[in-house]
């Protein structure tokens, strides 16, 4: 072939000498934003992270990512009230991702496949006393062991688990699951002392045997109220009631049981009463359904099992076979007011589910530890005013759930680790929240949430079999793939594909880079990023 004509015919690749990046007034930037699920998780789980692993069917990797933060996925997958799902951006598309169900699937998968938690870290020689083997204490023990500290875990009960065992009925949390996940933590080398009361924290402190102490004593005392009661009136508190049931020593209640209170414990007590043979289990609550603190799932489960509700009612008097109820109404501020109307209700026993208090008698001599309104006061790192003494779980001011307690355990462990090493705790940098407005949800398939199967109602009547069942692998995979990966790249290639200037480079490890030689800053990549993981920032001109 002869020489090509001058100027008219051009060779491939010549346009690359024209660096159109100079046109740009804004540049794209890959970012990670905090997914709302992660943000809402009291245990600080990287939910988006483990769902990402689960999406590819690598359940072990997903589980490993999960247990970085929380060693109890099978437990959490059953009893957590999943604020993550309430926060989930997918709510605004169709329904929240069934995070809790996938978590349970992963937890069960790990138990089934005998996956072990990570090994304990190299021994540091530091010793930590953890008082209370509930979710906060166990979580702290887990993280402290990973950091290489020696942990002595003491509890006054005969078994580990705290409120997870003694507050939550077995039909919500089968004991085999509870035992297995706790055992996995203990197997990391935790020194356990059961049936052991710490009566005075000063003794432990003064002993010098521990570099730090974590108080995770929970809130085990059922609140009482003064209700005029006849001599033979049968009144129990829900915490003790559930504890006794857990110890397989259930009290006798009779056929008609009234539960007083509107929280989750009330629902647990009512449903437990039904299982123990009560033909009537009536929840009496002074406000209405809207104001009820119980989680709606628990309430609906209770109704489904034949529990009935008496809204806007207080108990004025308890007799051997009946109670007197006063009807209430809500005032303008939403508080209940007495109406002066009364009613009698036949009943054999009244279970009080009016909240719990913490037994802090072990702090009697520790004058430097501040207690306020029945709660131990702590700093951001969960350290009390007493140096080296940390507190968490139900004993400190916070929402009283197992998940919050697990989160406290992790946070306290982090604080203790820094403290015993003489370091200042590193502040955990938080990304900006991945708000719904940053997403482009067009790209997500329409996919409604998978419902978890439930035990048939008729089979729940007289036993403590688990009510809510797990997802199949197929369903769990489906559910994981509903995750929109808010704020975090999931390698969808959109930026790589939609750039009119081919100014996005894609690498084999699933990462991308902007080629600023050619990027004109149009912003299509950011606009079309499904998960909001690209931001546009002004160029400094």
């Amino acid at each position: 072939m002869n020489q090509r004509p001058f100027a008219i015919t051009l060779d491939v690749g010549s346009s690359r000498s024209n660096h159109t990046g100079s046109w740009r007034v804004e540049r794209p930037n890959y970012v990670n934003r905090l997914p709302p699920c992660n943000n809402a998780c009291p245990a600080g789980e990287n939910i988006q992270g483990w769902l990402y692993e689960a999406e590819s069917g690598d359940y072990e990797a997903a589980w490993r990512t999960l247990v970085e933060e929380n060693p109890f996925p099978a437990i959490m997958g059953r009893i957590c009230f999943h604020p993550c799902e309430s926060a989930c951006n997918r709510v605004q598309v169709d329904e929240a991702v069934g995070i809790n169900a996938v978590e349970r699937f992963l937890g069960d998968y790990a138990l089934e496949h005998g996956l072990r938690l990570p090994d304990a870290g190299p021994a540091t020689g530091k010793r930590v006393l953890v008082v209370g083997a509930g979710p906060a204490g166990l979580s702290a023990a887990y993280h402290l062991r990973r950091q290489g500290h020696h942990v002595r875990l003491v509890d006054s009960s005969a078994q580990l688990g705290g409120m997870m065992r003694y507050g939550i009925p077995a039909y919500r949390l089968p004991r085999a699951v509870l035992d297995a996940e706790i055992q996995r933590v203990i197997d990391m080398g935790v020194e356990v002392m059961l049936n052991h009361n710490v009566d005075d924290i000063e003794i432990e402190r003064e002993s010098g045997r521990f570099d730090a102490i974590f108080l995770a004593v929970g809130a085990q005392l059922g609140k009482r109220v003064n209700i005029p009661a006849g001599d033979s009136a049968r009144i129990l508190d829900a915490v003790s009631f559930l504890h006794e049931v857990a110890d397989e020593n259930p009290p006798l209640l009779g056929r008609r049981v009234v539960i007083y209170g509107g929280g989750d414990t009330a629902m647990d007590a009512a449903r437990t009463a039904r299982r123990l043979g009560a033909t009537e289990a009536v929840v009496v609550y002074r406000r209405n359904q809207e104001k009820m603190p119980a989680h709606v799932e628990e309430y609906e489960q209770a109704l489904g099992e034949g529990v009935t509700m008496r809204w806007l009612s207080t108990i004025n008097k308890v007799d051997a076979d009946k109670i007197v109820i006063e009807k209430m109404r809500l005032n303008a501020e939403g508080f209940p007011e007495a109406t002066g109307e009364y009613e009698e209700l036949g009943t054999d026993a009244v279970v009080l589910a009016l909240g719990q208090d913490t037994d802090l008698s072990l702090l009697a001599r520790a004058s430097d530890i501040e207690v306020n309104d029945g709660s131990v006061q702590v700093a951001e790192n969960l350290m009390t005013n007493g140096r080296g003494i940390f507190a968490g779980g139900d004993a400190v001011p916070a929402e009283r759930t197992a998940t919050v307690a697990v989160g406290h355990g992790k946070k306290a462990a982090r604080g203790i680790d820094a403290y015993v090493r003489g370091a200042t705790p590193e502040p955990v940098a938080k990304h900006a929240l991945a708000e719904f407005a940053t997403l482009n949800t067009w790209y997500y398939s329409d996919a409604e949430r998978t419902q978890r199967p439930e035990l048939e109602k008729v089979r729940r009547q007289d036993n403590f079999e688990e009510v809510v069942l797990g997802l199949t692998e197929r369903n769990a995979l489906f559910e994981a793939r509903r995750c929109m990966s808010c704020g975090n790249c999931f390698e969808c290639d959109n930026c790589f594909g939609v750039c009119p200037d081919n100014a996005v480079l894609k690498f084999s490890d699933g990462t991308y880079e902007f080629n600023l030689d050619y990027c004109k800053g149009c912003g299509i990549c950011a606009h079309e990023c499904p998960c909001g993981a690209i931001e546009m920032v002004p160029e400094r001109i």
Partner: protein, 419 residues
Amino acid sequence: MLQQIEGSRAVAETVALCRPEVVCAYPISPQTHIIEAVGVMVKEGRLSPCEFINVESEFAAMSVAIGASATGARAYTATASQGLLYMMEAVYNAAGLGLPIVMTLANRAIGAPINIWNDHSDAMAVRDSGWIQLFAETNQEAADLHVQAFRLAEELSVPVMVCMDGFILTHAVEGVDLLDQASVDRFLPPYEPRQVLDPEHPVSIGAMVGPEAFPEVRYLAHLRQLDALHRIPAIAEEFLTATGRQSGGLVHSYRTEDADTIVVAMGSVLGTIKDAVDIRREAGERIGVLGITSFRPFPARAVRQALSGASQIVVLEKAFSIGHGGVLATDVAMALQGTNCIIREVVAGLGGRPITRQSLVALFYKAAQGELGALLFLDLDMDVVDREVERMKANRRSGPSAENVLRDLGVTRGEGALS
């Protein structure tokens, strides 16, 4: 083999011997017979491999040829008159892209008024397009020029237009010695494109070129045409050697050795002019003829050389630049700059008006007498013109009269009606 054959047929047969690979056609008189004949040959399989494409317009015809040529195929088409103008944009484009397309132009007048007969207005309209334009004097030359045209086009990567007078040549049956395939194959090697669309070696053809390079592109195109001034006679010489026939070249002189007056013209009218010149020679006048075969590139040096001995040049042409005068005459005048030659422009044969030997003899007589003005319309019917001028006067309040217009152009009354 010498045979009595229609000019169009002779061209078609010769084009087929050149093994064109893509032929596209849209019918327009007087080109139709050429393209019909090629079409038949392709359909019969006599011309193979070849794609014959019936397109929807001349614009498409040239465009198809452009695509084919850029893909490395030898491409051919034919047109005339309005058709050439309708494809004008593509004509320029083919030249600009340097695609060696060969096209037959069956010369015909341009409307309005619509007129299907011969003159050279169409060829003149595209003289600046960058195509090489060769004018055939006879059907033998028309046929031969096509073989040379493909050779020339492909050597230089320039499109070539072979101009032959519509009807006068295209539809005339006369003796033509057609070449055989082996001779043509020897003379015309397979097409080796200078650039080609090839997935293995991708290039972009047809870039947008701005002021920073456009003049250079144009100048380089000009240089290629200057090259052609060397290649055209060389190829004609080779053709002579191969076939024993004198066809093509830049110019042909006839009885100019001692001529005081030389008549310059293009195309088939040269035959009639030679006859008239022979008559005037017999009368003792020193008159000769210069036929121009290569109008673009314009062979100024050859023209100047051929005309150098004469004192008077009569340029007889079948085209007219309205408001100016002769087109070929202007080019001849440029070639003769600095000489003392007098140039007389004669416009003849527009729209197929017959150019008779009788008129030419009278014209040359007048030229010998030194009575020719600067511009003359041969055989113009001044009665018609006068009537129309009068009518215009009656209907117009002001403005120059038609007579004044003619005076401005150097035409004086009485000269127009020479017969």
